[in-house]
């Protein structure tokens, strides 16, 4: 230690930090402050979103009180209860996740464990193309092509389950092409790319030595995935799934076109419904006063829900990534 100091000798000034900062030009300091300001901009925007939209929504919260969570949404008689939209958001989000997760995990495992690198790249491009198709194009295709087509399938499933206790309540009539389930399917396609790429990143952090160890013990690929890959990556994959859920809940335009626009709370998944982003998008144009305040208020609730989901999900993803790096 002392040897090293002596070797560096007179080249080091008595107080290096101070001497350097004194020599630092003004432009250099300015650049740092500019960069810091741009970083802080993110926090500022998030705070501004929360405060400015809450301010616009205050009228709704103050006139309706706890009735904001009531079932009745009838702008004509000034009743603005958001419960049916919250319910719809939960239902469509869950359908989307249940459909998207097996697909995304399947593709992610295919990419990381099965196909060689040369083949994996084109597959990644193709899956990412799903994310390039704009939301409004999914909606247009959903309402003009997909809904009329799947309507017949719903109708035959609906008549097949009539009379069977639980299934009738879930899949029985009334059925419609534009429905909770159609919306869930379209949302599932839209979130598949992000869930796939995040899961793939997580799975790629599994140490090669774990994989090789499992293979060395004579495991098949499936046994290796269950014994070596899954225990390492289940935390991160949970985070990826939650992020997908957050995306599905906030997706607006596709949902607004295919959900059927009917503010009801029903267990029938093939029936038309409504969710939070869809009602804001569809009814904002004609709204004013308390009506408009209520729609912005639904946006505030949606913002709160997605922020909570994202914070939890990012926390899980980051923690599992850190643990992987440490291992």
């Amino acid at each position: 230690m002392s040897v090293a100091t002596r070797r560096a000798g007179p080249a080091i000034p008595a107080d290096p930090a101070r001497a350097l900062s004194e020599r630092r030009p003004l432009g250099d300091r300015g650049f740092q402050i500019l960069a810091l300001a741009c970083g802080l901009l993110v926090l500022a925007i998030l705070v501004l979103i929360a405060t400015s939209t809450s301010q616009q929504a205050a009228l709704w919260f103050s006139t309706e009180g706890l009735k904001v969570f009531s079932k009745t949404w009838n702008p004509a008689s000034n009743q603005f209860g958001a419960l049916s939209f919250i319910y719809g958001t939960a239902v469509t989000g869950v359908i989307a996740v249940v459909l998207a997760v097996p697909l995304s995990l399947g593709v992610a495992l295919l990419l990381t464990e099965v196909v060689p690198y040369r083949l994996a790249r084109p597959i990644v491009y193709v899956v990412d193309l799903l994310a390039v198709v704009p939301s409004v194009v999914w909606g247009l295709w959903g309402i003009l092509v997909f809904a009329p087509w799947i309507q017949h399938i719903y109708a035959s499933i609906g008549s097949a389950v009539t009379g069977i206790p639980v299934l009738e309540n879930l899949f029985g009539p009334p059925t419609s092409g534009a429905s909770f389930f159609t919306c869930g399917i379209i949302l599932a396609f839209m979130i598949t790319p992000i869930v796939t790429s995040l899961s793939r990143e997580v799975i790629a952090t599994v140490p090669a030595i774990d994989r090789e160890g499992a293979y060395a013990l004579g495991a098949t690929r499936l046994e290796m995935i269950r014994g070596a890959v899954w225990p390492h990556s289940k935390g991160g994959v949970t985070g990826a799934v939650l992020l997908g859920l957050g995306r599905a809940m906030g997706e607006t335009i596709a949902a607004a076109l295919v959900i059927g626009s009917s503010p009801v709370i029903t267990s029938h998944l093939f029936a038309p419904g409504y969710n939070m982003p869809a009602v804001i998008a569809n009814q904002f144009g004609e709204a004013s006063g308390v009506f408009r305040s209520a729609l912005i208020g639904i946006g505030v609730l949606l913002f709160g829900i997605t922020i909570i989901i994202n914070v939890i999900a990012r926390g899980i993803v980051e923690r599992s990534a850190r643990r992987q790096r440490g291992a």
Partner: protein, 298 residues
């Protein structure tokens, strides 16, 4: 002799029986998952191209928007094309430099401190904020005071792009090896100079490609514009800073629920335009990455 060669015990190279079968079933399911994912993609792209290609022409891309009941042969989507180019361009000019500077702060200055970690975490969280919230935000903070305008739409799209640009730029800056920075410090350069003339050029390919992908995403967004540019125009409003404006995604949204076949045809044509635009941006991004990737592979 033959009996001895055959009696070698179980074949150790391949697991036998049901374990092998289960493994094969799992592999088939993975391939099946990929097939199920590409079917809707192929279906959507096929429909958009098949229904949109016949209406696309120079006249379609430049003519004013006709009334919603007009047949497909009349008018076009000219004002929406102009609006999309103006609004997305303006959003890019605002969000990309700010996003790059934010990423510079995260990677070069405060990344490991508490504030840096906080900013990094919340910019990731911000990528998950629904785009409709950005629209409501700009409506609450801008439109209620200054009215609808293309600029309000650009601000909303900019808020959407900012965290995406920060994240992609940050990932690229992280790839630049420290030896480059140290080499520049050793010859006496200041930190800002090192960042601007050494670190940024080294990561330029990835940064540009990430920015282009953010632009592609923003160009297709409808929800942020719904509350900021109002739409409903038939002729172009070249003034981005005041008065209602129109963009391609808004036009598709308005026409999608219309019963008129002409309106639907224009929606398909506009969708094809939008997808081609997004694909061009994506291909450019890939080319830029391919062209410049050697600079980041030190």
């Amino acid at each position: 002799m033959t009996a001895i060669t055959q009696d070698r015990g179980p074949d150790l190279r391949e697991p036998a029986g049901w374990r092998r079968t289960k493994n094969q079933i799992a592999t088939i399911l993975m391939v099946l998952a990929f097939v199920v994912v590409i079917i809707p993609l192929g279906f959507v792209l096929y429909t958009v191209v098949a229904k949109g290609i016949s209406i696309i022409s120079v006249q379609f891309l430049t003519s004013p928007i006709p009334p919603i009941f007009a047949p497909a042969s009349e008018g076009g989507i000219g004002p929406a094309v102009l609006g999309t180019l103006e609004i997305t361009g303006l959003a890019t000019v605002m969000a990309v430099p700010l996003g790059i500077l934010g990423a510079i702060y995260l990677n070069e200055y405060g990344g490991k401190g508490l504030l840096g970690r906080l900013i990094g975490f919340f910019s990731d969280v911000m990528t998950g904020v629904p785009s409709i919230i950005m629209g409501l935000f700009l409506f609450s903070i801008w439109v209620v005071h200054f009215g609808f305008s293309g600029f309000a739409g650009a601000l909303a799209l900019g808020c959407l792009m900012l965290p995406i640009v920060i994240r992609s730029t940050y990932e690229m800056l992280r790839l630049v090896p420290d030896s480059l920075r140290e080499g520049s410090y050793a010859v006496g350069a200041t930190k800002s100079r090192v960042t601007m003339t050494v670190v940024l050029p080294a990561a330029l390919g990835g940064i540009v490609s990430g920015a282009l992908l953010a632009v592609a995403r923003a160009a297709g967004e409808t929800a942020p514009l719904l509350f900021t540019i109002l739409g409903g125009l038939s002729t172009a409003n070249p003034n981005v800073f005041s008065g209602a404006n129109i963009a391609i995604p808004m036009l598709i949204f308005n026409n999608a629920s219309s019963p008129y076949s002409g309106a639907q045809a224009r929606a398909w044509g506009a969708s094809l335009t939008l997808i081609v635009l997004a694909f061009l941006l994506m291909i450019t991004a890939r080319l830029v990455t391919a062209r410049f990737s050697r600079y980041s592979r030190y």
